[in-house]
Symmetry: none
Amino acid sequence: MARKPLTQPRKNAVQQRSRATVDALVEATARILVREGFEKASTNRIAEKAGVSIGSLYQYFPCKEALVAAVIDRHNAEIMRVVRSALAEVADRPVAQAVRRLVAVAIEAHRIDPRLHRVLAEQIPRTGRLKNIEAFNREAHALFRSYLEAHRDELRVADVELAAFLCATSIEAVAHTAVLHGNEALSDEATDALVEQATRMVVGYLQ
Amino acid sequence: MARKPLTQPRKNAVQQRSRATVDALVEATARILVREGFEKASTNRIAEKAGVSIGSLYQYFPCKEALVAAVIDRHNAEIMRVVRSALAEVADRPVAQAVRRLVAVAIEAHRIDPRLHRVLAEQIPRTGRLKNIEAFNREAHALFRSYLEAHRDELRVADVELAAFLCATSIEAVAHTAVLHGNEALSDEATDALVEQATRMVVGYLQ
Amino acid sequence: MARKPLTQPRKNAVQQRSRATVDALVEATARILVREGFEKASTNRIAEKAGVSIGSLYQYFPCKEALVAAVIDRHNAEIMRVVRSALAEVADRPVAQAVRRLVAVAIEAHRIDPRLHRVLAEQIPRTGRLKNIEAFNREAHALFRSYLEAHRDELRVADVELAAFLCATSIEAVAHTAVLHGNEALSDEATDALVEQATRMVVGYLQ
Amino acid sequence: MARKPLTQPRKNAVQQRSRATVDALVEATARILVREGFEKASTNRIAEKAGVSIGSLYQYFPCKEALVAAVIDRHNAEIMRVVRSALAEVADRPVAQAVRRLVAVAIEAHRIDPRLHRVLAEQIPRTGRLKNIEAFNREAHALFRSYLEAHRDELRVADVELAAFLCATSIEAVAHTAVLHGNEALSDEATDALVEQATRMVVGYLQ
DNA sequence: CATGAATGAGTGTTCATTCAT
DNA sequence: AATGAATGAACACTCATTCAT
């Protein structure tokens, strides 16, 4: 009952151990996913790479999908932290500035862990409960739409929802493709040019 | 080119039979992919649905991936036929007209077999040799870029390659998402509005 | 017999606690056996249902079989209490009366916890040390045989041992099957008729 | 369509091979069941003992239970062949003769493969679809009841159904216990005495 | 060419049991 | 004593692929 009295003994030690095991498992899953792909990510292999017994794996994750979902959630959380803070930051800025920032942030977000992002976006069978990747896109879209609605008087589009869909989809696709499908890493100049042009396209449309 | 003209009938018969077997296998694969997903598409099941023995399947396809690749190729070919003819058709039209037509065609293309398109885009592990889905995108992008280069004097963009990437990526993403991720089928009005706005965005940027 | 009388209270407390833990474990095992069957009765689940750690379970029971054996022993003890007291009660009665009472008691005994009885009789793999269910039968048979030997002069059978085997086996099987394999619970009338006829069969044979 | 023209070529060869595999699997299952018990009868072990790959096992049996069910069916079929023919044989005989024969047959039936019978009766978890063991008992009971009904005028019992239940259950239990739970094999004299006494008990009751 | 029986490495998952804390 | 995290052998089952017929 009495907690945080400077020393959290046993239980905390226990919690730390558990936590370390869980982290090791999620991390091992992500690594295998990135290096060898979804097909090679068997539970036994994950446990082995995590330095944990297969029994322990199933103490913390009810099935293989839960492990992959944890990786997805962790990655999505990182991305959404960046996206949410950017959108909060530009909430009161005019559309031209806001869009430029959001395009830049979309690229940044895709650079957090591009190879993992690629695997999650392209290699995971989107069956059953593993639909979560789109979930985060939906949240990002919704936030962007809220911004546009708040700035409706600056816009010269009739249907804000449609405009939001158009712009958010385009920005995401451009950032995704540029970061993941370019043959080489984007140079700073190329990135600047991309941001500049994408911003021009979107702002030109909205205003 | 001309071979053994005497036994040609026989050989033709054989070739026809082979062709029919191959077609049946590809068709069965596509059907199972659409109806039951990649995970259920085992080679034995495909052979059974195609009314062919598993041995025969391996006479025509060296491995499972080759079968899936054939489905992808067939689908891509259908799409590219539409895209190529549209681009040929608009080759000499002004940008505004051409873009409107291309946006409409992008949507049409995604409607050819949306459920198959979805499976191919989302459910197939993109391991090893199964990268072909992007291949077709690359061709479409290249064709569009050629168009823009031929109409460079109508444009007010500095970097045509970058502009082509931006526009083609956006159009593809918008069409893909609208067709496959909308909760219901797009109405005609919604489609018209989408085409109108996407065209405005792209043309506004290019000119 | 009398040990360390000074620390007895403490020790008693401990013993009581132990006793309670053991009881909880046996009870939990029985409940799971009845409600979910042998296959679901894992040691971890038993410990959980008993509100005891898996470590404690192994402090009191060396292995899973020991737990199941304890359930069997407890159930057998209950049954044998009934059977023994009935046999004591009829020890001096004539055969006709005694048999009628014993048939009734056999049915009563199977009704003590029919679902548990069924699981113990049908679902537990009778491997290794888990043969105990027959043990109780052996004791009941022996008691019945003693009764018959004491009343030998009332009987017109040559081989009392064989007669005891025949009658005890038949009574047990009839009671068992009637209680556990009848589609519905036995009505009072049906039970009466069953007792009447079984008694007639056995007494007719013995006398 | 045209079948049995003296030679059943290919297909027959194929069928023979399949049949041999199936037989080997059922036989291996029975052997392991007898020698090592249900718990040791894993599908991999069965396949190995049958000299067949685990894959082949699953080509012919959809799950482990199906394998065990096949063993049960095979054993039941053997027993029922004996029981059915005995009942057909005695159909027109008077009760006293018929019962003596049936008791003898019950013992014979339990001697067909006593160790297998024991495992099937005692060691197989009677879960789900593995209830078949009782099914054969039901058939034997029904046949016996039919006999009694046909000979009702010879009997002095009020309720033929109840009498059939009583006698069939008793005979089965006595035969089962005598064959399987006696410490040693029954001598011929002991068997004769058992048949004699059981017959006396049952006939005395019926008439 | 066609067949389909056969293969066996590999999968996800369970569970009795141990042992450091 | 009590705890519960950890273990890992074992299980039922799948499926891409081979090869004798």
